[in-house]
Amino acid sequence: MSGNEAIARGAIEAGVAFCASYPGTPSTEIATTLQKNAKEYDIYVEWSVNEKVALEAAAGASWAGIPALCSMKSLGLNVASDFLLNLNLSGTGKGGLVIVVCDDPRGHSSSNEQDSRFYAKAAQIPLLEPSTYQEAKDIVPFAFQLSQKYEVPVLIRSTTRLSHSRGLVTMGEDLKHIWAARQLPENLFNVPSPHLKHKDLLDKMERISEDFDNSSWNTKPTSKDVDLLIISSGISRRYSEEAIHLLNAKNIDIVNLVTTYPLPRKIIIDAVKKTRRVLFSEEINPFVEEEVRSLALELDEIPEFYGKKTGAVPDFGEMSTDVMMDVIEKIMKLKFNRREQIKSDILIPRPLTFCAGCTHRNFYWAVRKVRKRVKDKLVVAGDIGCYSLGVFYDRAMTTMQAMGSGIGVASGLGQLGRFGFDSKVLAVAGDSTFFHACIPGLINAKHKGANLTFVILDNETTAMTGFQTHPGAAHQEADQKRVKIEEVVKAIEPDFYARSNAIDIPKLVDLLHSTINKDGLKVLLLDSVCRLEVARREPAIDGIAFRINSDLCKGDKCLICVHDFACPAISWDKAVGHPVILDQLCVQCGACVAVCPHDAIKEERA
């Protein structure tokens, strides 16, 4: 099973009964797996509107004595952090609350490279980092016991390579437990003396550090004569082991930490005392490194440290066996013959793109046309979702930061007319993002009279992460009630509102152009289509094909459909001297028909 599936399995073995989450790569499969098992193990699982609501919901369950899990990606913990930094003091009651955060080193599927472990330090809560698939499963019951014992939230941190790789895991017993909600404990607030609650929490953390020292999660050095001690955590453990193996290096030992905050002080001190050199192997920031270095100040003899702080280990990007080999080679002055990466001049990039038939492409095509019409006086404040790929599409998107920040940024830009800002302001968000974080920004824009156009690309599913349901989704589960975006928007009463679609390109261009020229707060709700979602639910249409007419096509003098519209199903064919439609990729949406200025693309019926 994958690291994420192992975490979900661990939650089942811990007797979890409540799971609230918001999807985000690389964390999504944790809640998805629990959802698949929800009936069998009687677990309540929900995709909450955002991570803050998810954590709040999970805390409610834990207070009522129900073991609760809350999983999210790195950026999600930012959203939930406001609540987390209060919940730590209030306590989590008897149920137990475990938060799983999946960081994404290198930002494979994220807009930043964030180390979320600092939230454990900021909130003064225990942090656990499994380093194998087996530990990913086994750590969850331990995390629940810890949370139940001390009534604090416990943070488990995984990273992309553990979450998204698979290995063999030995399963434990199923724990089928009938939970009954109990009365909430008293004083579930921190006032009037948050400082005393803080003191209580710090006392708990002292005891937890001792528990960690006495636990069997962390490895200890096995040899006496250690030339170099590696302190590893998470998946970096495997990279360290393999680097030692490939280098055939002697006198190197590893202390692997699973309980990384608070540090198991005795284990660290004992291990560090026995060596002259310490190397840190961890993903993203020098978190363990900084903790160990400050702990080492208590020692009579301080060893030499090598890590991200000292420049020995790269302090950005992913860890790997290759990185560890380079580092160990340098420190130990070893030489291992390896072929360096070869540069090939024929190796052209394969940029990310919208799927064939995705209506987001149509929308950005329209943005491009409108931008020309207004002589480039247009800024597009973007948001997080598939449509974020707009940044790669002729740079159609100007800004892109956090969930909901498009409308927030736009509500500021929409006030700058008084300072001479003369570009039209356009904010873009998807449907799931709308519910996640756009509503306060939209209300702010309405209240303050910001001059902007807000476009909602509504494909009625959380497409980016694998079609999770959300309040506005077309397909709802039996006991869920749909909340219509249109009704929410109308209740806010924008100065102009229109609902149209992102399928008919000429109509879309005109609507977008006329809308941005109006004054005040304008909202466009565009019915959009996710072809992957359609393909999941409906059979393909046979008998329709699109063809490029070689008499009408201007060949390499034009290339608008290939290079500008850039649908993956249209490809330049050198042999015939004009672009061709690739039937195996085409989804017969017909959007390209309107894009061709020479009417050369036609629908054909078999």
């Binding site: 553990l162 998204h164 698979r166 072929r339 024929i346 394969r350 919208f354 790669f392 290079h563 850039a566």
Partner: protein, 196 residues
């Protein structure tokens, strides 16, 4: 067997990679070995490059193959095979590569010319110990679709002498995923006939 034995699958978009990784991992388990499979997915679904790292051994290894340590490279697409080889191929690497290209799209309005497939194969020959080129388009189109390239390439790999897993073990694993009646099994058997 080299321990770990490292198989790297290079493709576009994801599905083909996932099936190859899943099938070979299951075949390894049935052969009494421990597989670790690492996929790069997420945003890659939007038509980007996808790599699947498969490590087979007696113990668990890390989820990424170190540079130069690939034993078998399965290229579901020629350009992606070359991209993977440039980064990970080494002295031991045997590449089994489909010559059917998936064109790249323009980036930020900049056209990019896809290189000649012969040129790609030539570069692969420079980087790898041995390259087996698969021409599966006609066979698979007749069977139904190029989507079965993953089953075809698994067949070709199963009959390669370097493969530590038996052809039968891989076939059984594929069958447990798709069922014995699936046309994927026919694609696998066609792949197994490829001359090495």
């Amino acid at each position: 067997m080299q321990d770990p034995f490292n198989i790297l699958v290079a493709g576009v978009g994801g599905q083909g990679n996932l099936v190859c990784g899943r099938v070979l991992a299951e075949a390894a388990v049935q052969s009494g070995l421990r597989p670790v499979v690492g996929d790069t997915f997420g945003a890659s679904r939007r038509g980007g490059s996808v790599l699947t790292h498969l490590r087979i051994g007696k113990t668990d290894w890390g989820p990424l193959i170190p540079k130069g340590e690939v034993d078998i490279l399965l290229g579901l697409e020629p350009l992606e095979a070359l991209r993977a080889a440039a980064k990970f191929a080494g002295e031991r690497t045997v590449a089994i590569v489909s010559q059917t290209k998936i064109p790249t799209v323009a980036s930020n309005n900049t056209p990019i010319e896809y290189p000649a497939v012969e040129q790609i194969i030539g570069s692969l020959n420079d980087l790898c110990k041995h390259v087996i080129v698969l021409d599966a388009e006609e066979t698979l189109t007749q069977l139904g679709s190029m989507k079965m390239l993953n089953s075809y390439i698994l067949g070709a790999m199963g009959s390669a002498p370097q493969t530590p897993l038996s052809l039968e073990a891989i076939r059984e694993s594929l069958e447990s995923l798709f069922g014995s009646k699936s046309v994927n099994m026919a694609a696998f058997d066609e792949g197994a006939k490829v001359e090495q």
